[in-house]
């Protein structure tokens, strides 16, 4: 079953998936559209956008996806994107690692050993 199902190892797949996320958050996000998103746009058009209050975390070091103290826009946004991604990775990854079923290695074993042959 493995020849067609597993083109790359689990470790390499995870590395590529992580890299893709970090590249989007850290590099590509600079090119994201700065137009208001759907909700903000509708709020402006229908007339409730002035009800928006600044978040109480608006003074934080990463607020607005820009890093305080870094003047270069590209770098400032990239660092904030990377920091946010790593925060999500550690929080979510840690939570899922704690929640996971233990001792179910049987399934995993049969997959990984058969891929080796």
């Amino acid at each position: 079953m493995s020849a067609t199902e597993k083109r790359i190892s689990t470790r390499n797949f995870f590395a590529v998936f992580l890299l893709a996320g970090l590249l989007i958050a850290g590099v590509a996000s600079y090119y994201a559209s700065s137009h208001p998103d759907g909700l903000n746009f509708v709020a402006e058009k229908t007339g409730f956008s002035d009800k928006e209050e600044a978040s109480s975390t608006a003074d934080g070091p990463l607020a607005g996806y820009s890093t305080k103290g870094i003047d270069n826009d590209r770098l400032s946004g990239g660092v904030a994107g990377l920091a946010g991604s790593l925060l999500v990775l550690s929080l979510a990854g840690g939570l899922f690692w704690v929640l996971r079923r233990r001792g179910t290695a049987g399934d995993e074993h049969s997959v990984s050993t058969s891929s080796g042959t």
Partner: protein, 233 residues
């Protein structure tokens, strides 16, 4: 679709906060069944990818933009309960550190994107799968359609909340029509991204995709592989 502080009144925000906490509590129980040694790291990476994807606003006609919500994508890749926790973690980090989405609106955002987005995405995905043969090839298109539907439904739920507890005297119908029609367009972007990502992962490692489990089992039976009982190792 991140709701800032001030759009909804306090009772509505409290109510959505209660709904969000209840949903997360259920998800913490349900996710245990979806996560094991291999899928737990996968799910952590799915959450990271959703965070990254939400940064990538794409332009939509008429000077507005949209971005991935990721509920359907996370549900298909990691399982629906785990997806609720993925989205909730993303929204928590965005609210606390990025000032993206209000703090008093955190419950609203978890409800809209974490609960409604994931639930609609997963149910539509399952509904489409039930009508089609159990094959890997149908998964990405099914995920894309699920993603397409999930965005305007989340927008509609926001409109309902605004009709109940909006802070401005704006016609609820106007808000609902504008929200749903713009988010239908944004949903097309959501569908394209979700379809491409799900197809890519299935192309290389379908065994890591929660939504592919039954299709993989069906395929194994077809090619008469020895079952996965403990002895095979």
């Amino acid at each position: 679709m991140h709701v800032p502080d001030g759009f909804l009144d306090v009772p509505t925000s409290v109510a959505t906060g209660v709904v969000a906490v209840g949903g997360i509590a259920l998800a913490l129980r349900g996710a245990r069944r979806e996560l094991d040694d291999r899928t737990a790291p996968m799910a952590g990476l799915v959450a990271t990818f959703v965070f990254a994807g939400q940064m990538m606003n794409f332009p939509v006609a008429g000077g507005t933009s949209g971005h991935l919500l990721g509920g359907a994508m996370a549900a298909v890749l990691a399982g629906p309960w785990t997806a609720v926790l993925c989205l909730s973690t993303v929204l928590l980090v965005q609210g606390l550190f990025m000032a993206d989405g209000g703090i008093t609106a955190l419950g609203t955002n978890v409800t809209l994107m974490g609960l409604v987005g994931v639930a609609v995405g997963w149910l539509v995905f399952k509904g489409i799968r039930a009508m089609l043969p159990d094959r890997l090839g149908v998964l990405a298109p099914a995920a894309a359609i699920a993603a397409l539907v999930s965005v305007p439904v989340a927008a509609l739920v926001f409109s309902a909340l605004f009709a109940i507890g909006g802070t401005a005297p704006v016609s609820p119908e106007k808000v609902a029509i504008a929200m749903v029609s713009w988010h239908l367009v944004i949903g097309v972007g959501e569908a394209i991204i979700t379809g491409m990502v799900v197809a890519s992962v299935i192309g290389v490692r379908p065994d890591l995709v929660y939504g592919a489990r039954s299709a993989l089992r069906a395929r194994r039976l077809e090619i008469r592989e020895p079952s996965t009982a403990g002895e095979s190792a």
